[in-house]
């Protein structure tokens, strides 16, 4: 194949032909979920907070495919809106944590010495805190709002992203071609942008997937505890909490959002696994 004409289109075509059936299914599911989330107001049969019946936990019917929730709202519509908020929050959180974590990680790796030492020590100190405790303490002082939620979880995630980004970048910084660039007189910024970043892109993409999954699970857990997204807004975690009672009425309302979270997370993990295996890239040993 002619290298000059090798565009991202060819790359994409090749990647698609590499998909195993299982992975293809997961990717398809992820795409579907993202489309559903993005188009929620168009797709959802009813409004998010629309009360349609006076009966809690009505069984599924032609009018409401998944029945009604504890306030008589349509479960399917709320599920669609819940997916939207959950994905949106996870995306913003992961994006922010990567912006900060990768910048700091590359900074530490590029400069080394006391800069690296200080940032890494501080980061290690933050890691001595269990994630949930950190979140609970912040929410206790600031109250729970979407902004607090996003920045708290993004901060916690950043400490993890930093370690991975730094470890990856340090490995590249000792390569001969970086030394050559230094000898040529290139600046730190040029080296990070042109040498380090392209070489760590695949493992970083995989890490993005892992962090995205983690953000979904973490926000859902907080919402489940009643400390994340606050009603009347609702993500999937809030829906699980709200409808726990349904089990006692013999309805599975609370299982739908819980299984939804699990399916999104599983698909993402399978996709990341495939990505790592295909490029035979490896994430540094971090948890």
């Amino acid at each position: 194949m002619n290298i000059d004409n090798y565009t991202w289109r060819d790359e994409l075509r090749e990647a698609i032909s590499d998909l195993t059936p299982g992975t293809a299914l997961c990717v398809l599911f992820l795409v579907a979920v993202i489309v559903i989330g993005a188009l929620a107001p168009v797709i959802a049969p009813y409004g998010e907070g629309e009360i349609l019946t006076n009966n809690s936990f009505e069984p599924p019917s032609t009018m409401m495919w998944l029945g009604s929730d504890y306030l008589g709202r349509d479960v399917l519509s709320r599920l669609i809106y819940g997916v939207r908020i959950t994905l949106f929050l996870a995306l913003v959180i992961t994006f922010l944590s990567f912006l900060a974590g990768v910048s700091l990680g590359f900074l530490a790796a590029a400069f080394g010495g006391w800069v690296d030492n200080w940032i890494s020590r501080l980061n290690d100190a933050m890691l001595s805190f269990p994630a949930l405790m950190l979140a609970l303490i912040v929410i206790n002082s600031l109250g729970s709002s979407l902004v607090v939620l996003v920045f708290t979880v993004a901060f916690i995630d950043m400490t993890r992203v930093f370690r991975v980004a730094r470890a990856l970048a340090v490995n590249v910084m000792v390569m001969d071609y970086v030394e050559a660039a230094v000898v040529r007189g290139e600046g730190k910024a040029w080296i990070v942008w042109h040498e380090v970043l392209p070489n760590v892109l695949t493992p970083l993409a995989a890490e993005f997937g892992i962090r995205f999954t983690y953000a979904i699970l973490f926000v859902s857990a907080l919402s489940f505890l009643g400390l994340g997204v606050q009603p009347p807004q609702s993500d999937l975690g809030v829906m699980v909490k709200e409808n726990l009672q349904a089990i006692l009425y013999g309805e599975y309302t609370t299982l739908y959002p819980a299984i939804g979270i699990a399916l999104i997370a599983i698909s993402m993990n399978v996709f990341v696994d495939w990505l790592l295996q295909r490029s035979s890239a490896e994430l540094p040993d971090e948890i």
Partner: protein, 317 residues
């Protein structure tokens, strides 16, 4: 450097970490002192009343003095009283931590041997049927939110079959049999929250060791597979496995909080969540300190055990 020196250094580092954690817990919860007074008074907050409360709680003292007083009280076991109802926090903590310790240790006793065995079984023949079954199941389990397995368990065993209680309230009159009935579902749910991570990490730790030249040597010598695993690989993998176990017991913290809330179990986790909801600062501080100390101690124990288990760690750095 002698082993003793390394251990001493690690202990000092652990103590420093604990101190840092206490500063952060204190700052994180006290950074908005106005809110504490307002939180107590709610709607009826007049400037005079706020001033009175601040006086009573010592909020007018400088920050570092308050920190020292707080730390001193905490270390001497005086946790103060709840802002919400004035109850003594120490008594409540004593009662609830007993329940949480029972829940967590039952889970650890089941989850640790089970996951180490499963991890070993998967590592025996990487890519084989057993490995693929265990690896893909654990990959799926990792993606489950902490509450999913527990909710399914409740649906099946408490609601459909009516074998076990859906709510794990504890009465003083409970004998051993009642305790077991109450604990089965929470313990199973909690086990699933830590099992998958532990299985996956044990597997990769053992595979790492199996890739070492020493194992290749043993293989070439003609050591049978079973003996190779148990006599040659396992002792070398012990350090990493201990690390894995300790790290994952730390996952118990978030698991305990979610599972206790789900089952209405009267433990420390639910106590803390309720306190955060009510902004009951002294309770949040105390619970956070207990959970964080547990976490720091666990990490320290893991490091120390792997130093003791593997003398080569001594020569690193």
């Amino acid at each position: 450097m002698s082993l003793l020196e390394i251990l001493g250094k690690r202990l000092i580092l652990g103590a420093a970490t604990l101190l840092f954690v206490s500063v952060l817990v204190f700052l994180g919860t006290e950074i908005l002192p106005g809110d504490v007074a307002h939180a107590i008074l709610g709607q009826g907050a007049t400037p005079e009343l706020v001033q009175q409360i601040r006086e009573r709680l010592g909020l007018n003292e400088p920050l570092h003095m308050r920190y020292l007083v707080w730390l001193g009280n905490f270390l001497s076991g005086d946790f103060g009283t709840s802002l919400a109802n004035g109850a003594d926090i120490g008594t409540e903590i004593a009662r609830r931590s007993k329940n949480t310790i029972i829940l967590a240790s039952c889970t650890a006793v089941i989850a640790v041997p089970l996951s180490v065995l499963l991890g070993l079984a998967a590592a025996v023949k990487p890519g084989g049927m057993v490995d693929r079954a265990i690896s893909s199941t654990s990959l799926a389990l990792i993606s489950f939110p902490d509450f999913l397995v527990a909710v399914v368990l409740v649906t099946v065993f408490a609601v459909e079959l009516r074998w076990l209680p859906a709510i794990a309230s504890i009465r003083p009159s409970y004998d051993l049999l009642d305790w077991i009935r109450v604990l089965i579902l929470p313990v199973t749910g909690l086990t699933f929250t830590i099992l998958a991570h532990m299985v996956r990490m044990t597997r990769s730790a053992v595979l790492n060791v199996l890739a070492s030249p020493a194992i290749e040597m043993a293989l070439l010598k003609g050591v049978p597979r079973r003996r190779l695993l148990l006599r040659h690989a396992l002792p070398n993998a012990l350090g990493p496995i201990i690390n894995v176990v300790a790290l994952n017991l730390a996952y118990l913290i978030s698991g305990v909080v979610v599972i206790e809330t789900l089952f209405n179990f009267p433990g420390l986790g639910r106590y803390m969540v309720e306190a955060v909801t009510n902004r009951d600062v002294p309770i949040v501080q105390t619970c956070a300190m207990i959970f964080c100390s547990f976490y720091v101690l666990l990490n320290m124990t893991a490091d120390i055990l792997s130093i003791v288990a593997n003398p080569r760690v001594r020569y690193k750095k």
